[in-house]
């Protein structure tokens, strides 16, 4: 058991009465049911926090909701600043529904991120999801499309599976899949499945004609290994009627107490090479290039860990000189992954360098350089591993502990 990090990043300003959740996401909803996710594992939720970067002229309240009622985690932020509930814990049982309700007393808020920590009651893992709580229409008949477990879910799903795959380093099992459908005019079944290395897993969320709501599959898990890719798929039968989707979530666990966080954009964000650096949050959605500064992108994971495997997937890379993906720790670049010039569609990863963070350190991502040409970014993330025994400090010199013989 140990903490993992949930991150959400909205596409638009929050208005009083909006309902959302702590993964993804794109758009909000005013219908609470459309944002409610199944806590498929018994879990503690702590340290709800958010960063308002603009607007929010009054008191802005982020309230954790447990089964449609107020939970314990709550933050009230006055004006454009950040806030955290460092006191309260919401303990949910497997099957409970959770979400976040936002209200304000002034202008709408623009936020760079909203986070919380989750600690599973059994084992170690996290919920990863892509979302657009107001709903996106899927009607690509007689076809299979694909979804990422982060960022905004795309209209119809993504046709190219590589663009939504996440290369796993830390998790060892795919425990559950859940899907929320908010409108369904289909005349036949619509199937969502978990995917591993481009093939169907064993989890299935199927909506029969006209069925809406949330379906979760917590059947026996699929094992996953270092290097496996994970994502979800949707298969629609014939017909052009709507299936409107709010989110797709996977529950992933690690037998070695690792966890991951990544930001994503399923359709890809293009960055032209240049000397101006661009910053992103370490989870949720990859926003427009100039949305955030390094300061507004910073997120505190909230636990001590070894951070590794800084990586990204690019569906295009025509840079004429090397580009750089950097992990920032408290405003300083600490790990760099080289985006090799003209590397094309590929994963780019630094599998060697690691850093150690404590519970208060803040992290962000930076893309920089490239000379000319462009890249298209779909996902960027890192892996958290527990600290080695003895904590974050180097071992004391052995000589200090040499036995000393007593002399009579």
């Amino acid at each position: 058991m140990g903490k993992a990090l949930l991150v959400a990043s909205p596409a638009a300003g929050l208005a009083s009465g909006d309902e959302n959740n702590i993964f993804g996401y794109g758009t909000d909803t005013t219908a609470e049911a459309n944002a409610q996710a199944n806590c498929t594992e018994g879990a503690d939720f702590t340290n709800l926090r958010a960063n308002i970067t603009g607007g929010g002229s009054g008191t802005n309240t982020f309230q954790f909701r447990d089964a449609g009622a107020n939970g314990q985690n709550v933050i009230a932020i006055v004006g454009a600043s950040s806030g955290e509930d460092a006191t309260n814990t919401d303990t949910l049982s497997a099957g409970d529904l959770f979400n976040i309700a936002y209200t304000d007393t002034g202008t709408n808020s623009n936020i760079s991120w909203m986070c919380a920590n989750v600690t599973f009651a059994s084992g170690h893992g996290n919920f990863h999801g892509g979302a657009a709580f107001s709903g996106v229409v899927c009607d690509a008949q007689s076809s299979t499309r694909f979804f990422q477990f982060a960022g905004i879910i795309a209209v119809d799903g993504e046709a190219t599976e590589n663009n939504v795959e996440w290369t796993n380093r830390g998790y060892t099992s795919f425990e559950a899949l859940q899907v929320r459908v908010t409108a369904n005019a289909r005349t036949n079944n619509s199937d969502f499945r978990n995917r591993k290395n481009g093939a169907d897993g064993s989890l299935l969320c199927q909506f029969t004609s006209g069925a809406t709501g949330l379906i979760s599959d917590t059947s026996p898990a699929d094992s996953i290994a270092d290097g496996d890719t994970v994502n979800a798929s949707i298969t629609l039968d014939t017909g052009l009627e709507d299936l409107t989707l709010a989110f797709v979530i996977g529950t992933l666990k690690s037998s070695s107490s690792k966890s991951e966080t990544w930001a994503a954009d399923q359709t890809g964000v293009s960055r032209t090479a240049g000397a101006t650096a661009h910053y992103f949050t370490i989870g949720g959605r990859i926003r427009a290039l100039t949305d955030l500064t390094e300061t507004t992108a910073r997120i505190k994971p909230g636990f001590a860990a070894v951070v590794s495997n800084l990586r990204c997937y690019l569906s295009a890379n025509t840079y004429t000189g090397n580009g750089m993906l950097k992990l920032y720790q408290n405003g300083v670049a600490v790990i760099t992954t080289t985006i090799t010039a003209a590397g094309g569609a590929a994963w780019y990863e630094n599998a060697t360098d690691t850093i150690t963070i404590d519970a208060d350190d803040e992290l962000s991502f930076e893309f920089d350089e490239g000379t000319s040409g462009s890249i298209t970014i779909h996902s960027v993330g890192i892996t958290f591993a527990p600290l080695p025994a003895g904590g974050p400090f180097p071992p004391w010199p052995q000589t200090i502990f040499q036995p000393i013989a007593l002399q009579n």
């Binding site: 005013t30 219908a31 049911a33 459309n34 409610q36 199944n38 089964a67 449609g68 099957g95 529904l97 107001s134 709903g135 996106v136 229409v137 009607d139 209209v155 929320r180 908010t182 409108a183 369904n184 005019a185 079944n189 299935l204 969320c205 199927q206 029969t208 004609s209 006209g210 069925a211 809406t212 709501g213 949330l214 379906i215 979760s216 599959d217 917590t218 059947s219 009627e241 709507d242 409107t244």
Partner: protein, 153 residues
């Protein structure tokens, strides 16, 4: 374990376990009713329904709701209806198109499903026609004991 959480319980939350076999889910008979919301428990009691009976009533209610919502979306698209909440940079007029996510709805305490038109521009003279459309479409679903009424706000 496959669990279905319907999204139109007036209060509380139904949780229904479904069975998965041969790559498909059995949508005819539930494996188990984990919990019923107070309204659907009442539907079960009043109509003396067994587990399959109340599950069928819940599913048919959902399908009737979706028949009506889809008919409304097609009507709105055909008539260029505007939704203020659908205005965006890419759609500055808010005119309803194929990517519009659908009408909002709520369940009132009696269990009736009310289709809302809060930010939609619906001419007063169209309301009666749309109400009839909702009624006609929702009744295209097999009517079973305990099925919810679908109404336009």
């Amino acid at each position: 374990m496959i669990t279905w959480y319907p999204d139109f319980c007036p209060s509380g939350q139904c949780m229904i376990e479904l069975e998965k076999a041969s790559g498909s889910i059995n949508w005819t008979t539930p494996k188990r009713l984990i919990t019923l919301c107070p309204h659907h428990q009442n539907v079960k009691n009043i109509n003396a329904l067994d587990d399959t009976g109340v599950f069928t009533a819940i599913l048919r209610s959902c399908q009737a709701k979706e028949k009506a919502r889809w008919a409304l979306k097609l009507d709105f698209m055909a008539n260029g209806t505007i939704d203020d909440d659908y205005i965006s940079e890419s759609n500055p007029t808010g005119v309803i198109d194929k990517e519009w996510p659908g009408t909002r709805f709520k369940a009132d305490p009696s269990g009736d499903i009310i289709i809302e038109h809060g930010t939609l521009h619906i001419p007063p003279q169209a309301r009666q026609r749309l109400s009839k459309l909702v009624d006609d479409e929702s009744k295209k679903i097999d009517q079973v004991p305990g099925i919810s009424r679908i109404l336009l706000e």
